[in-house]
């Protein structure tokens, strides 16, 4: 952008503004009905979360907290995945994504909500002296817990959580701020500022996401360790954030918005990324399992052993086929990747699968010490659905609210011209 003269730049913004796809009704959502939908979603979510709280009393507190945590970790991964994509698009100065980037930013701005949703998990863990976090419990293996206590102790965990939340909110606010300012002023240098923020932000993002995954999804079973864990959690967010954006775009198209701004070409590119990162998830998830299975070190392999018995093996095989093989075969098809409806359907499927992935990771923690005593049986399974659905509904409600409040595409992004003319030559 910087090599353009001021007149050339002004002319470019004018050409963007005059593009037929940029008419006001095409790029703004109907706020009144969107707000109504958001209120309904948040209401349903609150109701389901209240049911979860009731389930904590009626069925089992540990079970309820684990089910709630499953939903929270899933939506956190999605929001973080969206922030990853925003930073990647800024870093590589990607032209094609200028239009869809706003939807990724909308999903990214749910990060503060996610931090708020994670907080109760931590509070319950600290207050109860360990609910799912086995290293907090009194009867944990003393030798190992003592060895790891420099890192695994409640005070440091709380500090780390505040640090992760602070980093994510700071990055999200900065990137969002630049994008909003650009909508208002059209200042071309905001692109460069967002790019600079993404450069150091990406490093902090990688470390904070990896350590968040270590702390909240891996270390509850304090014996287990895997250096791939951070990547595993991150991989779960990459394709699912694209799935959410595909669903948003599909609904926007259904209500007659973004016509000409989001075309089959953009859909195709999102489909390619969704395909690639679904395969990436399968690749690293299998590699992690494969190495641990082969080396057969008791403290590592026990984590997988718990998840390959007592019925958890059903979920494990469901992930192999439903999370990797079936989406792999479906997303190989070019027509699916070029169809927003097709991509949205696969997207819904992948969101279900990524939630089942988190279920498979978190839920066995409830039973790991004493299966028979804590197992509420199928009578408690409704809690898993209700808690995850409640978290997703609240999260989706805030997302819908935000979508209605800003233009559907970054209206003065200088790269928008390239995005509007984008075409895949393959």
């Amino acid at each position: 952008m910087t090599q353009l003269s001021a007149t050339q730049y002004k002319r470019r913004l004018k050409r963007i503004a005059e593009h037929p796809a940029m008419s006001a009704e095409n790029i703004t959502a109907d706020r009144a009905s969107m707000d109504k939908a958001a209120a309904i979603m948040i209401g349903i979510g609150a109701l389901l979360l209240a049911l979860t709280a009731a389930g904590a009393v009626i069925v089992n507190g540990r079970h309820a907290l684990a089910s709630y945590a499953v939903g929270v970790y899933a939506v956190t991964a999605i929001s973080l995945g969206a922030m990853f994509w925003v930073m990647v698009f800024e870093l590589v100065r990607s032209g094609w994504s200028a239009g869809v980037r706003r939807q990724f930013e909308n999903v990214m701005m749910n990060i503060p909500l996610c931090v708020v949703l994670i907080a109760p998990i931590l509070i319950f863990e600290l207050a109860a002296g360990g609910v799912l976090f086995h290293w907090m419990m009194g009867d944990a293996d003393e030798y190992l817990v003592n060895k790891k206590s420099a890192y695994l102790n409640p005070a440091f965990l709380a500090v780390r959580f505040l640090l992760y939340g602070g980093i994510w909110i700071l990055l999200a606010m900065k990137l969002w701020g630049y994008s909003m300012a650009q909508d208002q002023t059209g200042d071309r240098y905001l692109v460069n500022k967002a790019r600079f923020t993404s450069s150091w932000g990406m490093l902090l993002f990688a470390l904070s996401v990896a350590f968040f995954a270590f702390d909240f999804l891996m270390s509850p079973d304090y014996r287990f360790f895997s250096t791939m864990w951070g990547v595993y959690y991150f991989a779960g967010g990459t394709f699912s954030s694209i799935a959410v954006v595909a669903i948003i775009c599909c609904l926007a198209k259904f209500f007659g918005r973004m016509t000409g701004a989001i075309t089959a070409e953009h859909t195709h590119d999102m489909g390619k990324l969704m395909f690639g990162f679904t395969v990436f998830w399968g690749y690293i998830a299998f590699s992690q399992y494969f190495l641990i299975w082969y080396s057969n070190i008791p403290e590592e392999v026990a984590w997988y052993t718990h998840r390959k018995e007592n019925g958890w093996e059903v979920l494990a095989w469901l992930l192999v086929f439903g999370h990797f093989l079936i989406p792999f075969i479906i997303l190989l098809q070019r027509p699916v990747k070029r169809s927003l409806v097709g991509l949205a359907i696969v997207g819904v499927w992948l969101l279900v699968m990524t939630t089942i992935d988190k279920t498979w990771i978190v839920r066995p923690m409830v039973y790991i010490r004493d299966f028979a005593q804590n197992d509420p049986g199928p009578a408690g399974w409704w809690l898993d659905v209700v808690a995850a659905a409640g978290v997703f509904a609240v999260w989706g409600g805030f997302l819908v609210r935000r979508i209605a409040r800003v233009p559907l595409i970054p209206v003065r992004d200088p790269r928008l011209l390239k995005a509007l003319k984008h075409k895949n030559y393959v």
Binding site: F290, W293, Y294, L332, R334, Y425
Partner: protein, 206 residues
């Protein structure tokens, strides 16, 4: 098309596009006509000419340019290649074969490795994956060659002095005589309407 030029198949048994040069039309000295070549000096001229030929319904023809032109596939009316489906079938069956091979060997000649089950699926995955990738890559490359009629060492077009500049600064449309619609008069008329620099008939000389 290329296939008949280097495969020892009786040309009469091949489908029309693969039958090789037509002997229906001959040049003044008696050599069979291989096709008609039109030369252009501007990219838009070429694109418009290509669209006119496509709309006239020709099937056995090609265009030549010193550099890639975006959107040429649509202008020429290419159907999408069937290669991905062949690759898909080949890759998936190769992966299945790779898995079965390992399962058969491990089941038939049982050896204890690290105390793992004889036919555990985990160690088979990398090799299954690699064989799938290998055969997919081979099928892609060789299938592309087969569909494009490559490798091919000679083409009657190389007789044309003008055609040499197809790698420099000129654009060409070439309609082969094997096309059902090819007719020296009608085809020339069609090409003349697209304002070429030159039109010439290419003979089938060895």
């Amino acid at each position: 098309m290329a296939l008949a030029d280097y495969l020892p198949i009786p040309t009469s048994k091949l489908p029309a596009p693969l039958r090789g040069p037509s002997t229906k039309f001959v040049l003044e000295d008696g050599t069979p006509v291989h096709g008609m070549l039109a030369q252009y000096s501007k990219t838009p001229d070429l694109v418009h000419a290509v669209e006119a030929v496509r709309d006239a319904g020709y099937k056995v023809w090609d265009s030549f340019s010193p550099f890639p032109i975006h959107g040429m596939e649509e202008s020429m009316g290419f159907a999408r290649t069937k290669l991905p489906y062949i690759i898909g079938v080949a890759g998936l069956s190769a992966a299945a074969m790779g898995y079965l091979l390992q399962w058969w060997i491990s089941n038939d000649y049982q050896m204890v490795v690290q105390g793992k089950p004889y036919t555990a699926w985990e160690p088979f995955v990398p090799i299954t994956f690699e064989i799938g990738i290998l055969i997919t890559a081979f099928t892609t490359l060789l299938g592309m060659f087969a569909f494009n009629g490559l490798p091919r060492h000679h083409h009657p077009l190389y007789q044309s002095e003008r055609f040499l500049s197809s790698s420099d600064d000129k654009f060409f449309v070439y309609i082969e005589a094997t096309d059902e619609r090819f007719d020296p008069e009608a085809t020339r008329k069609l090409l003349e309407k697209t304002h070429p620099d030159h039109i010439e008939l290419i003979g089938q000389r060895d």
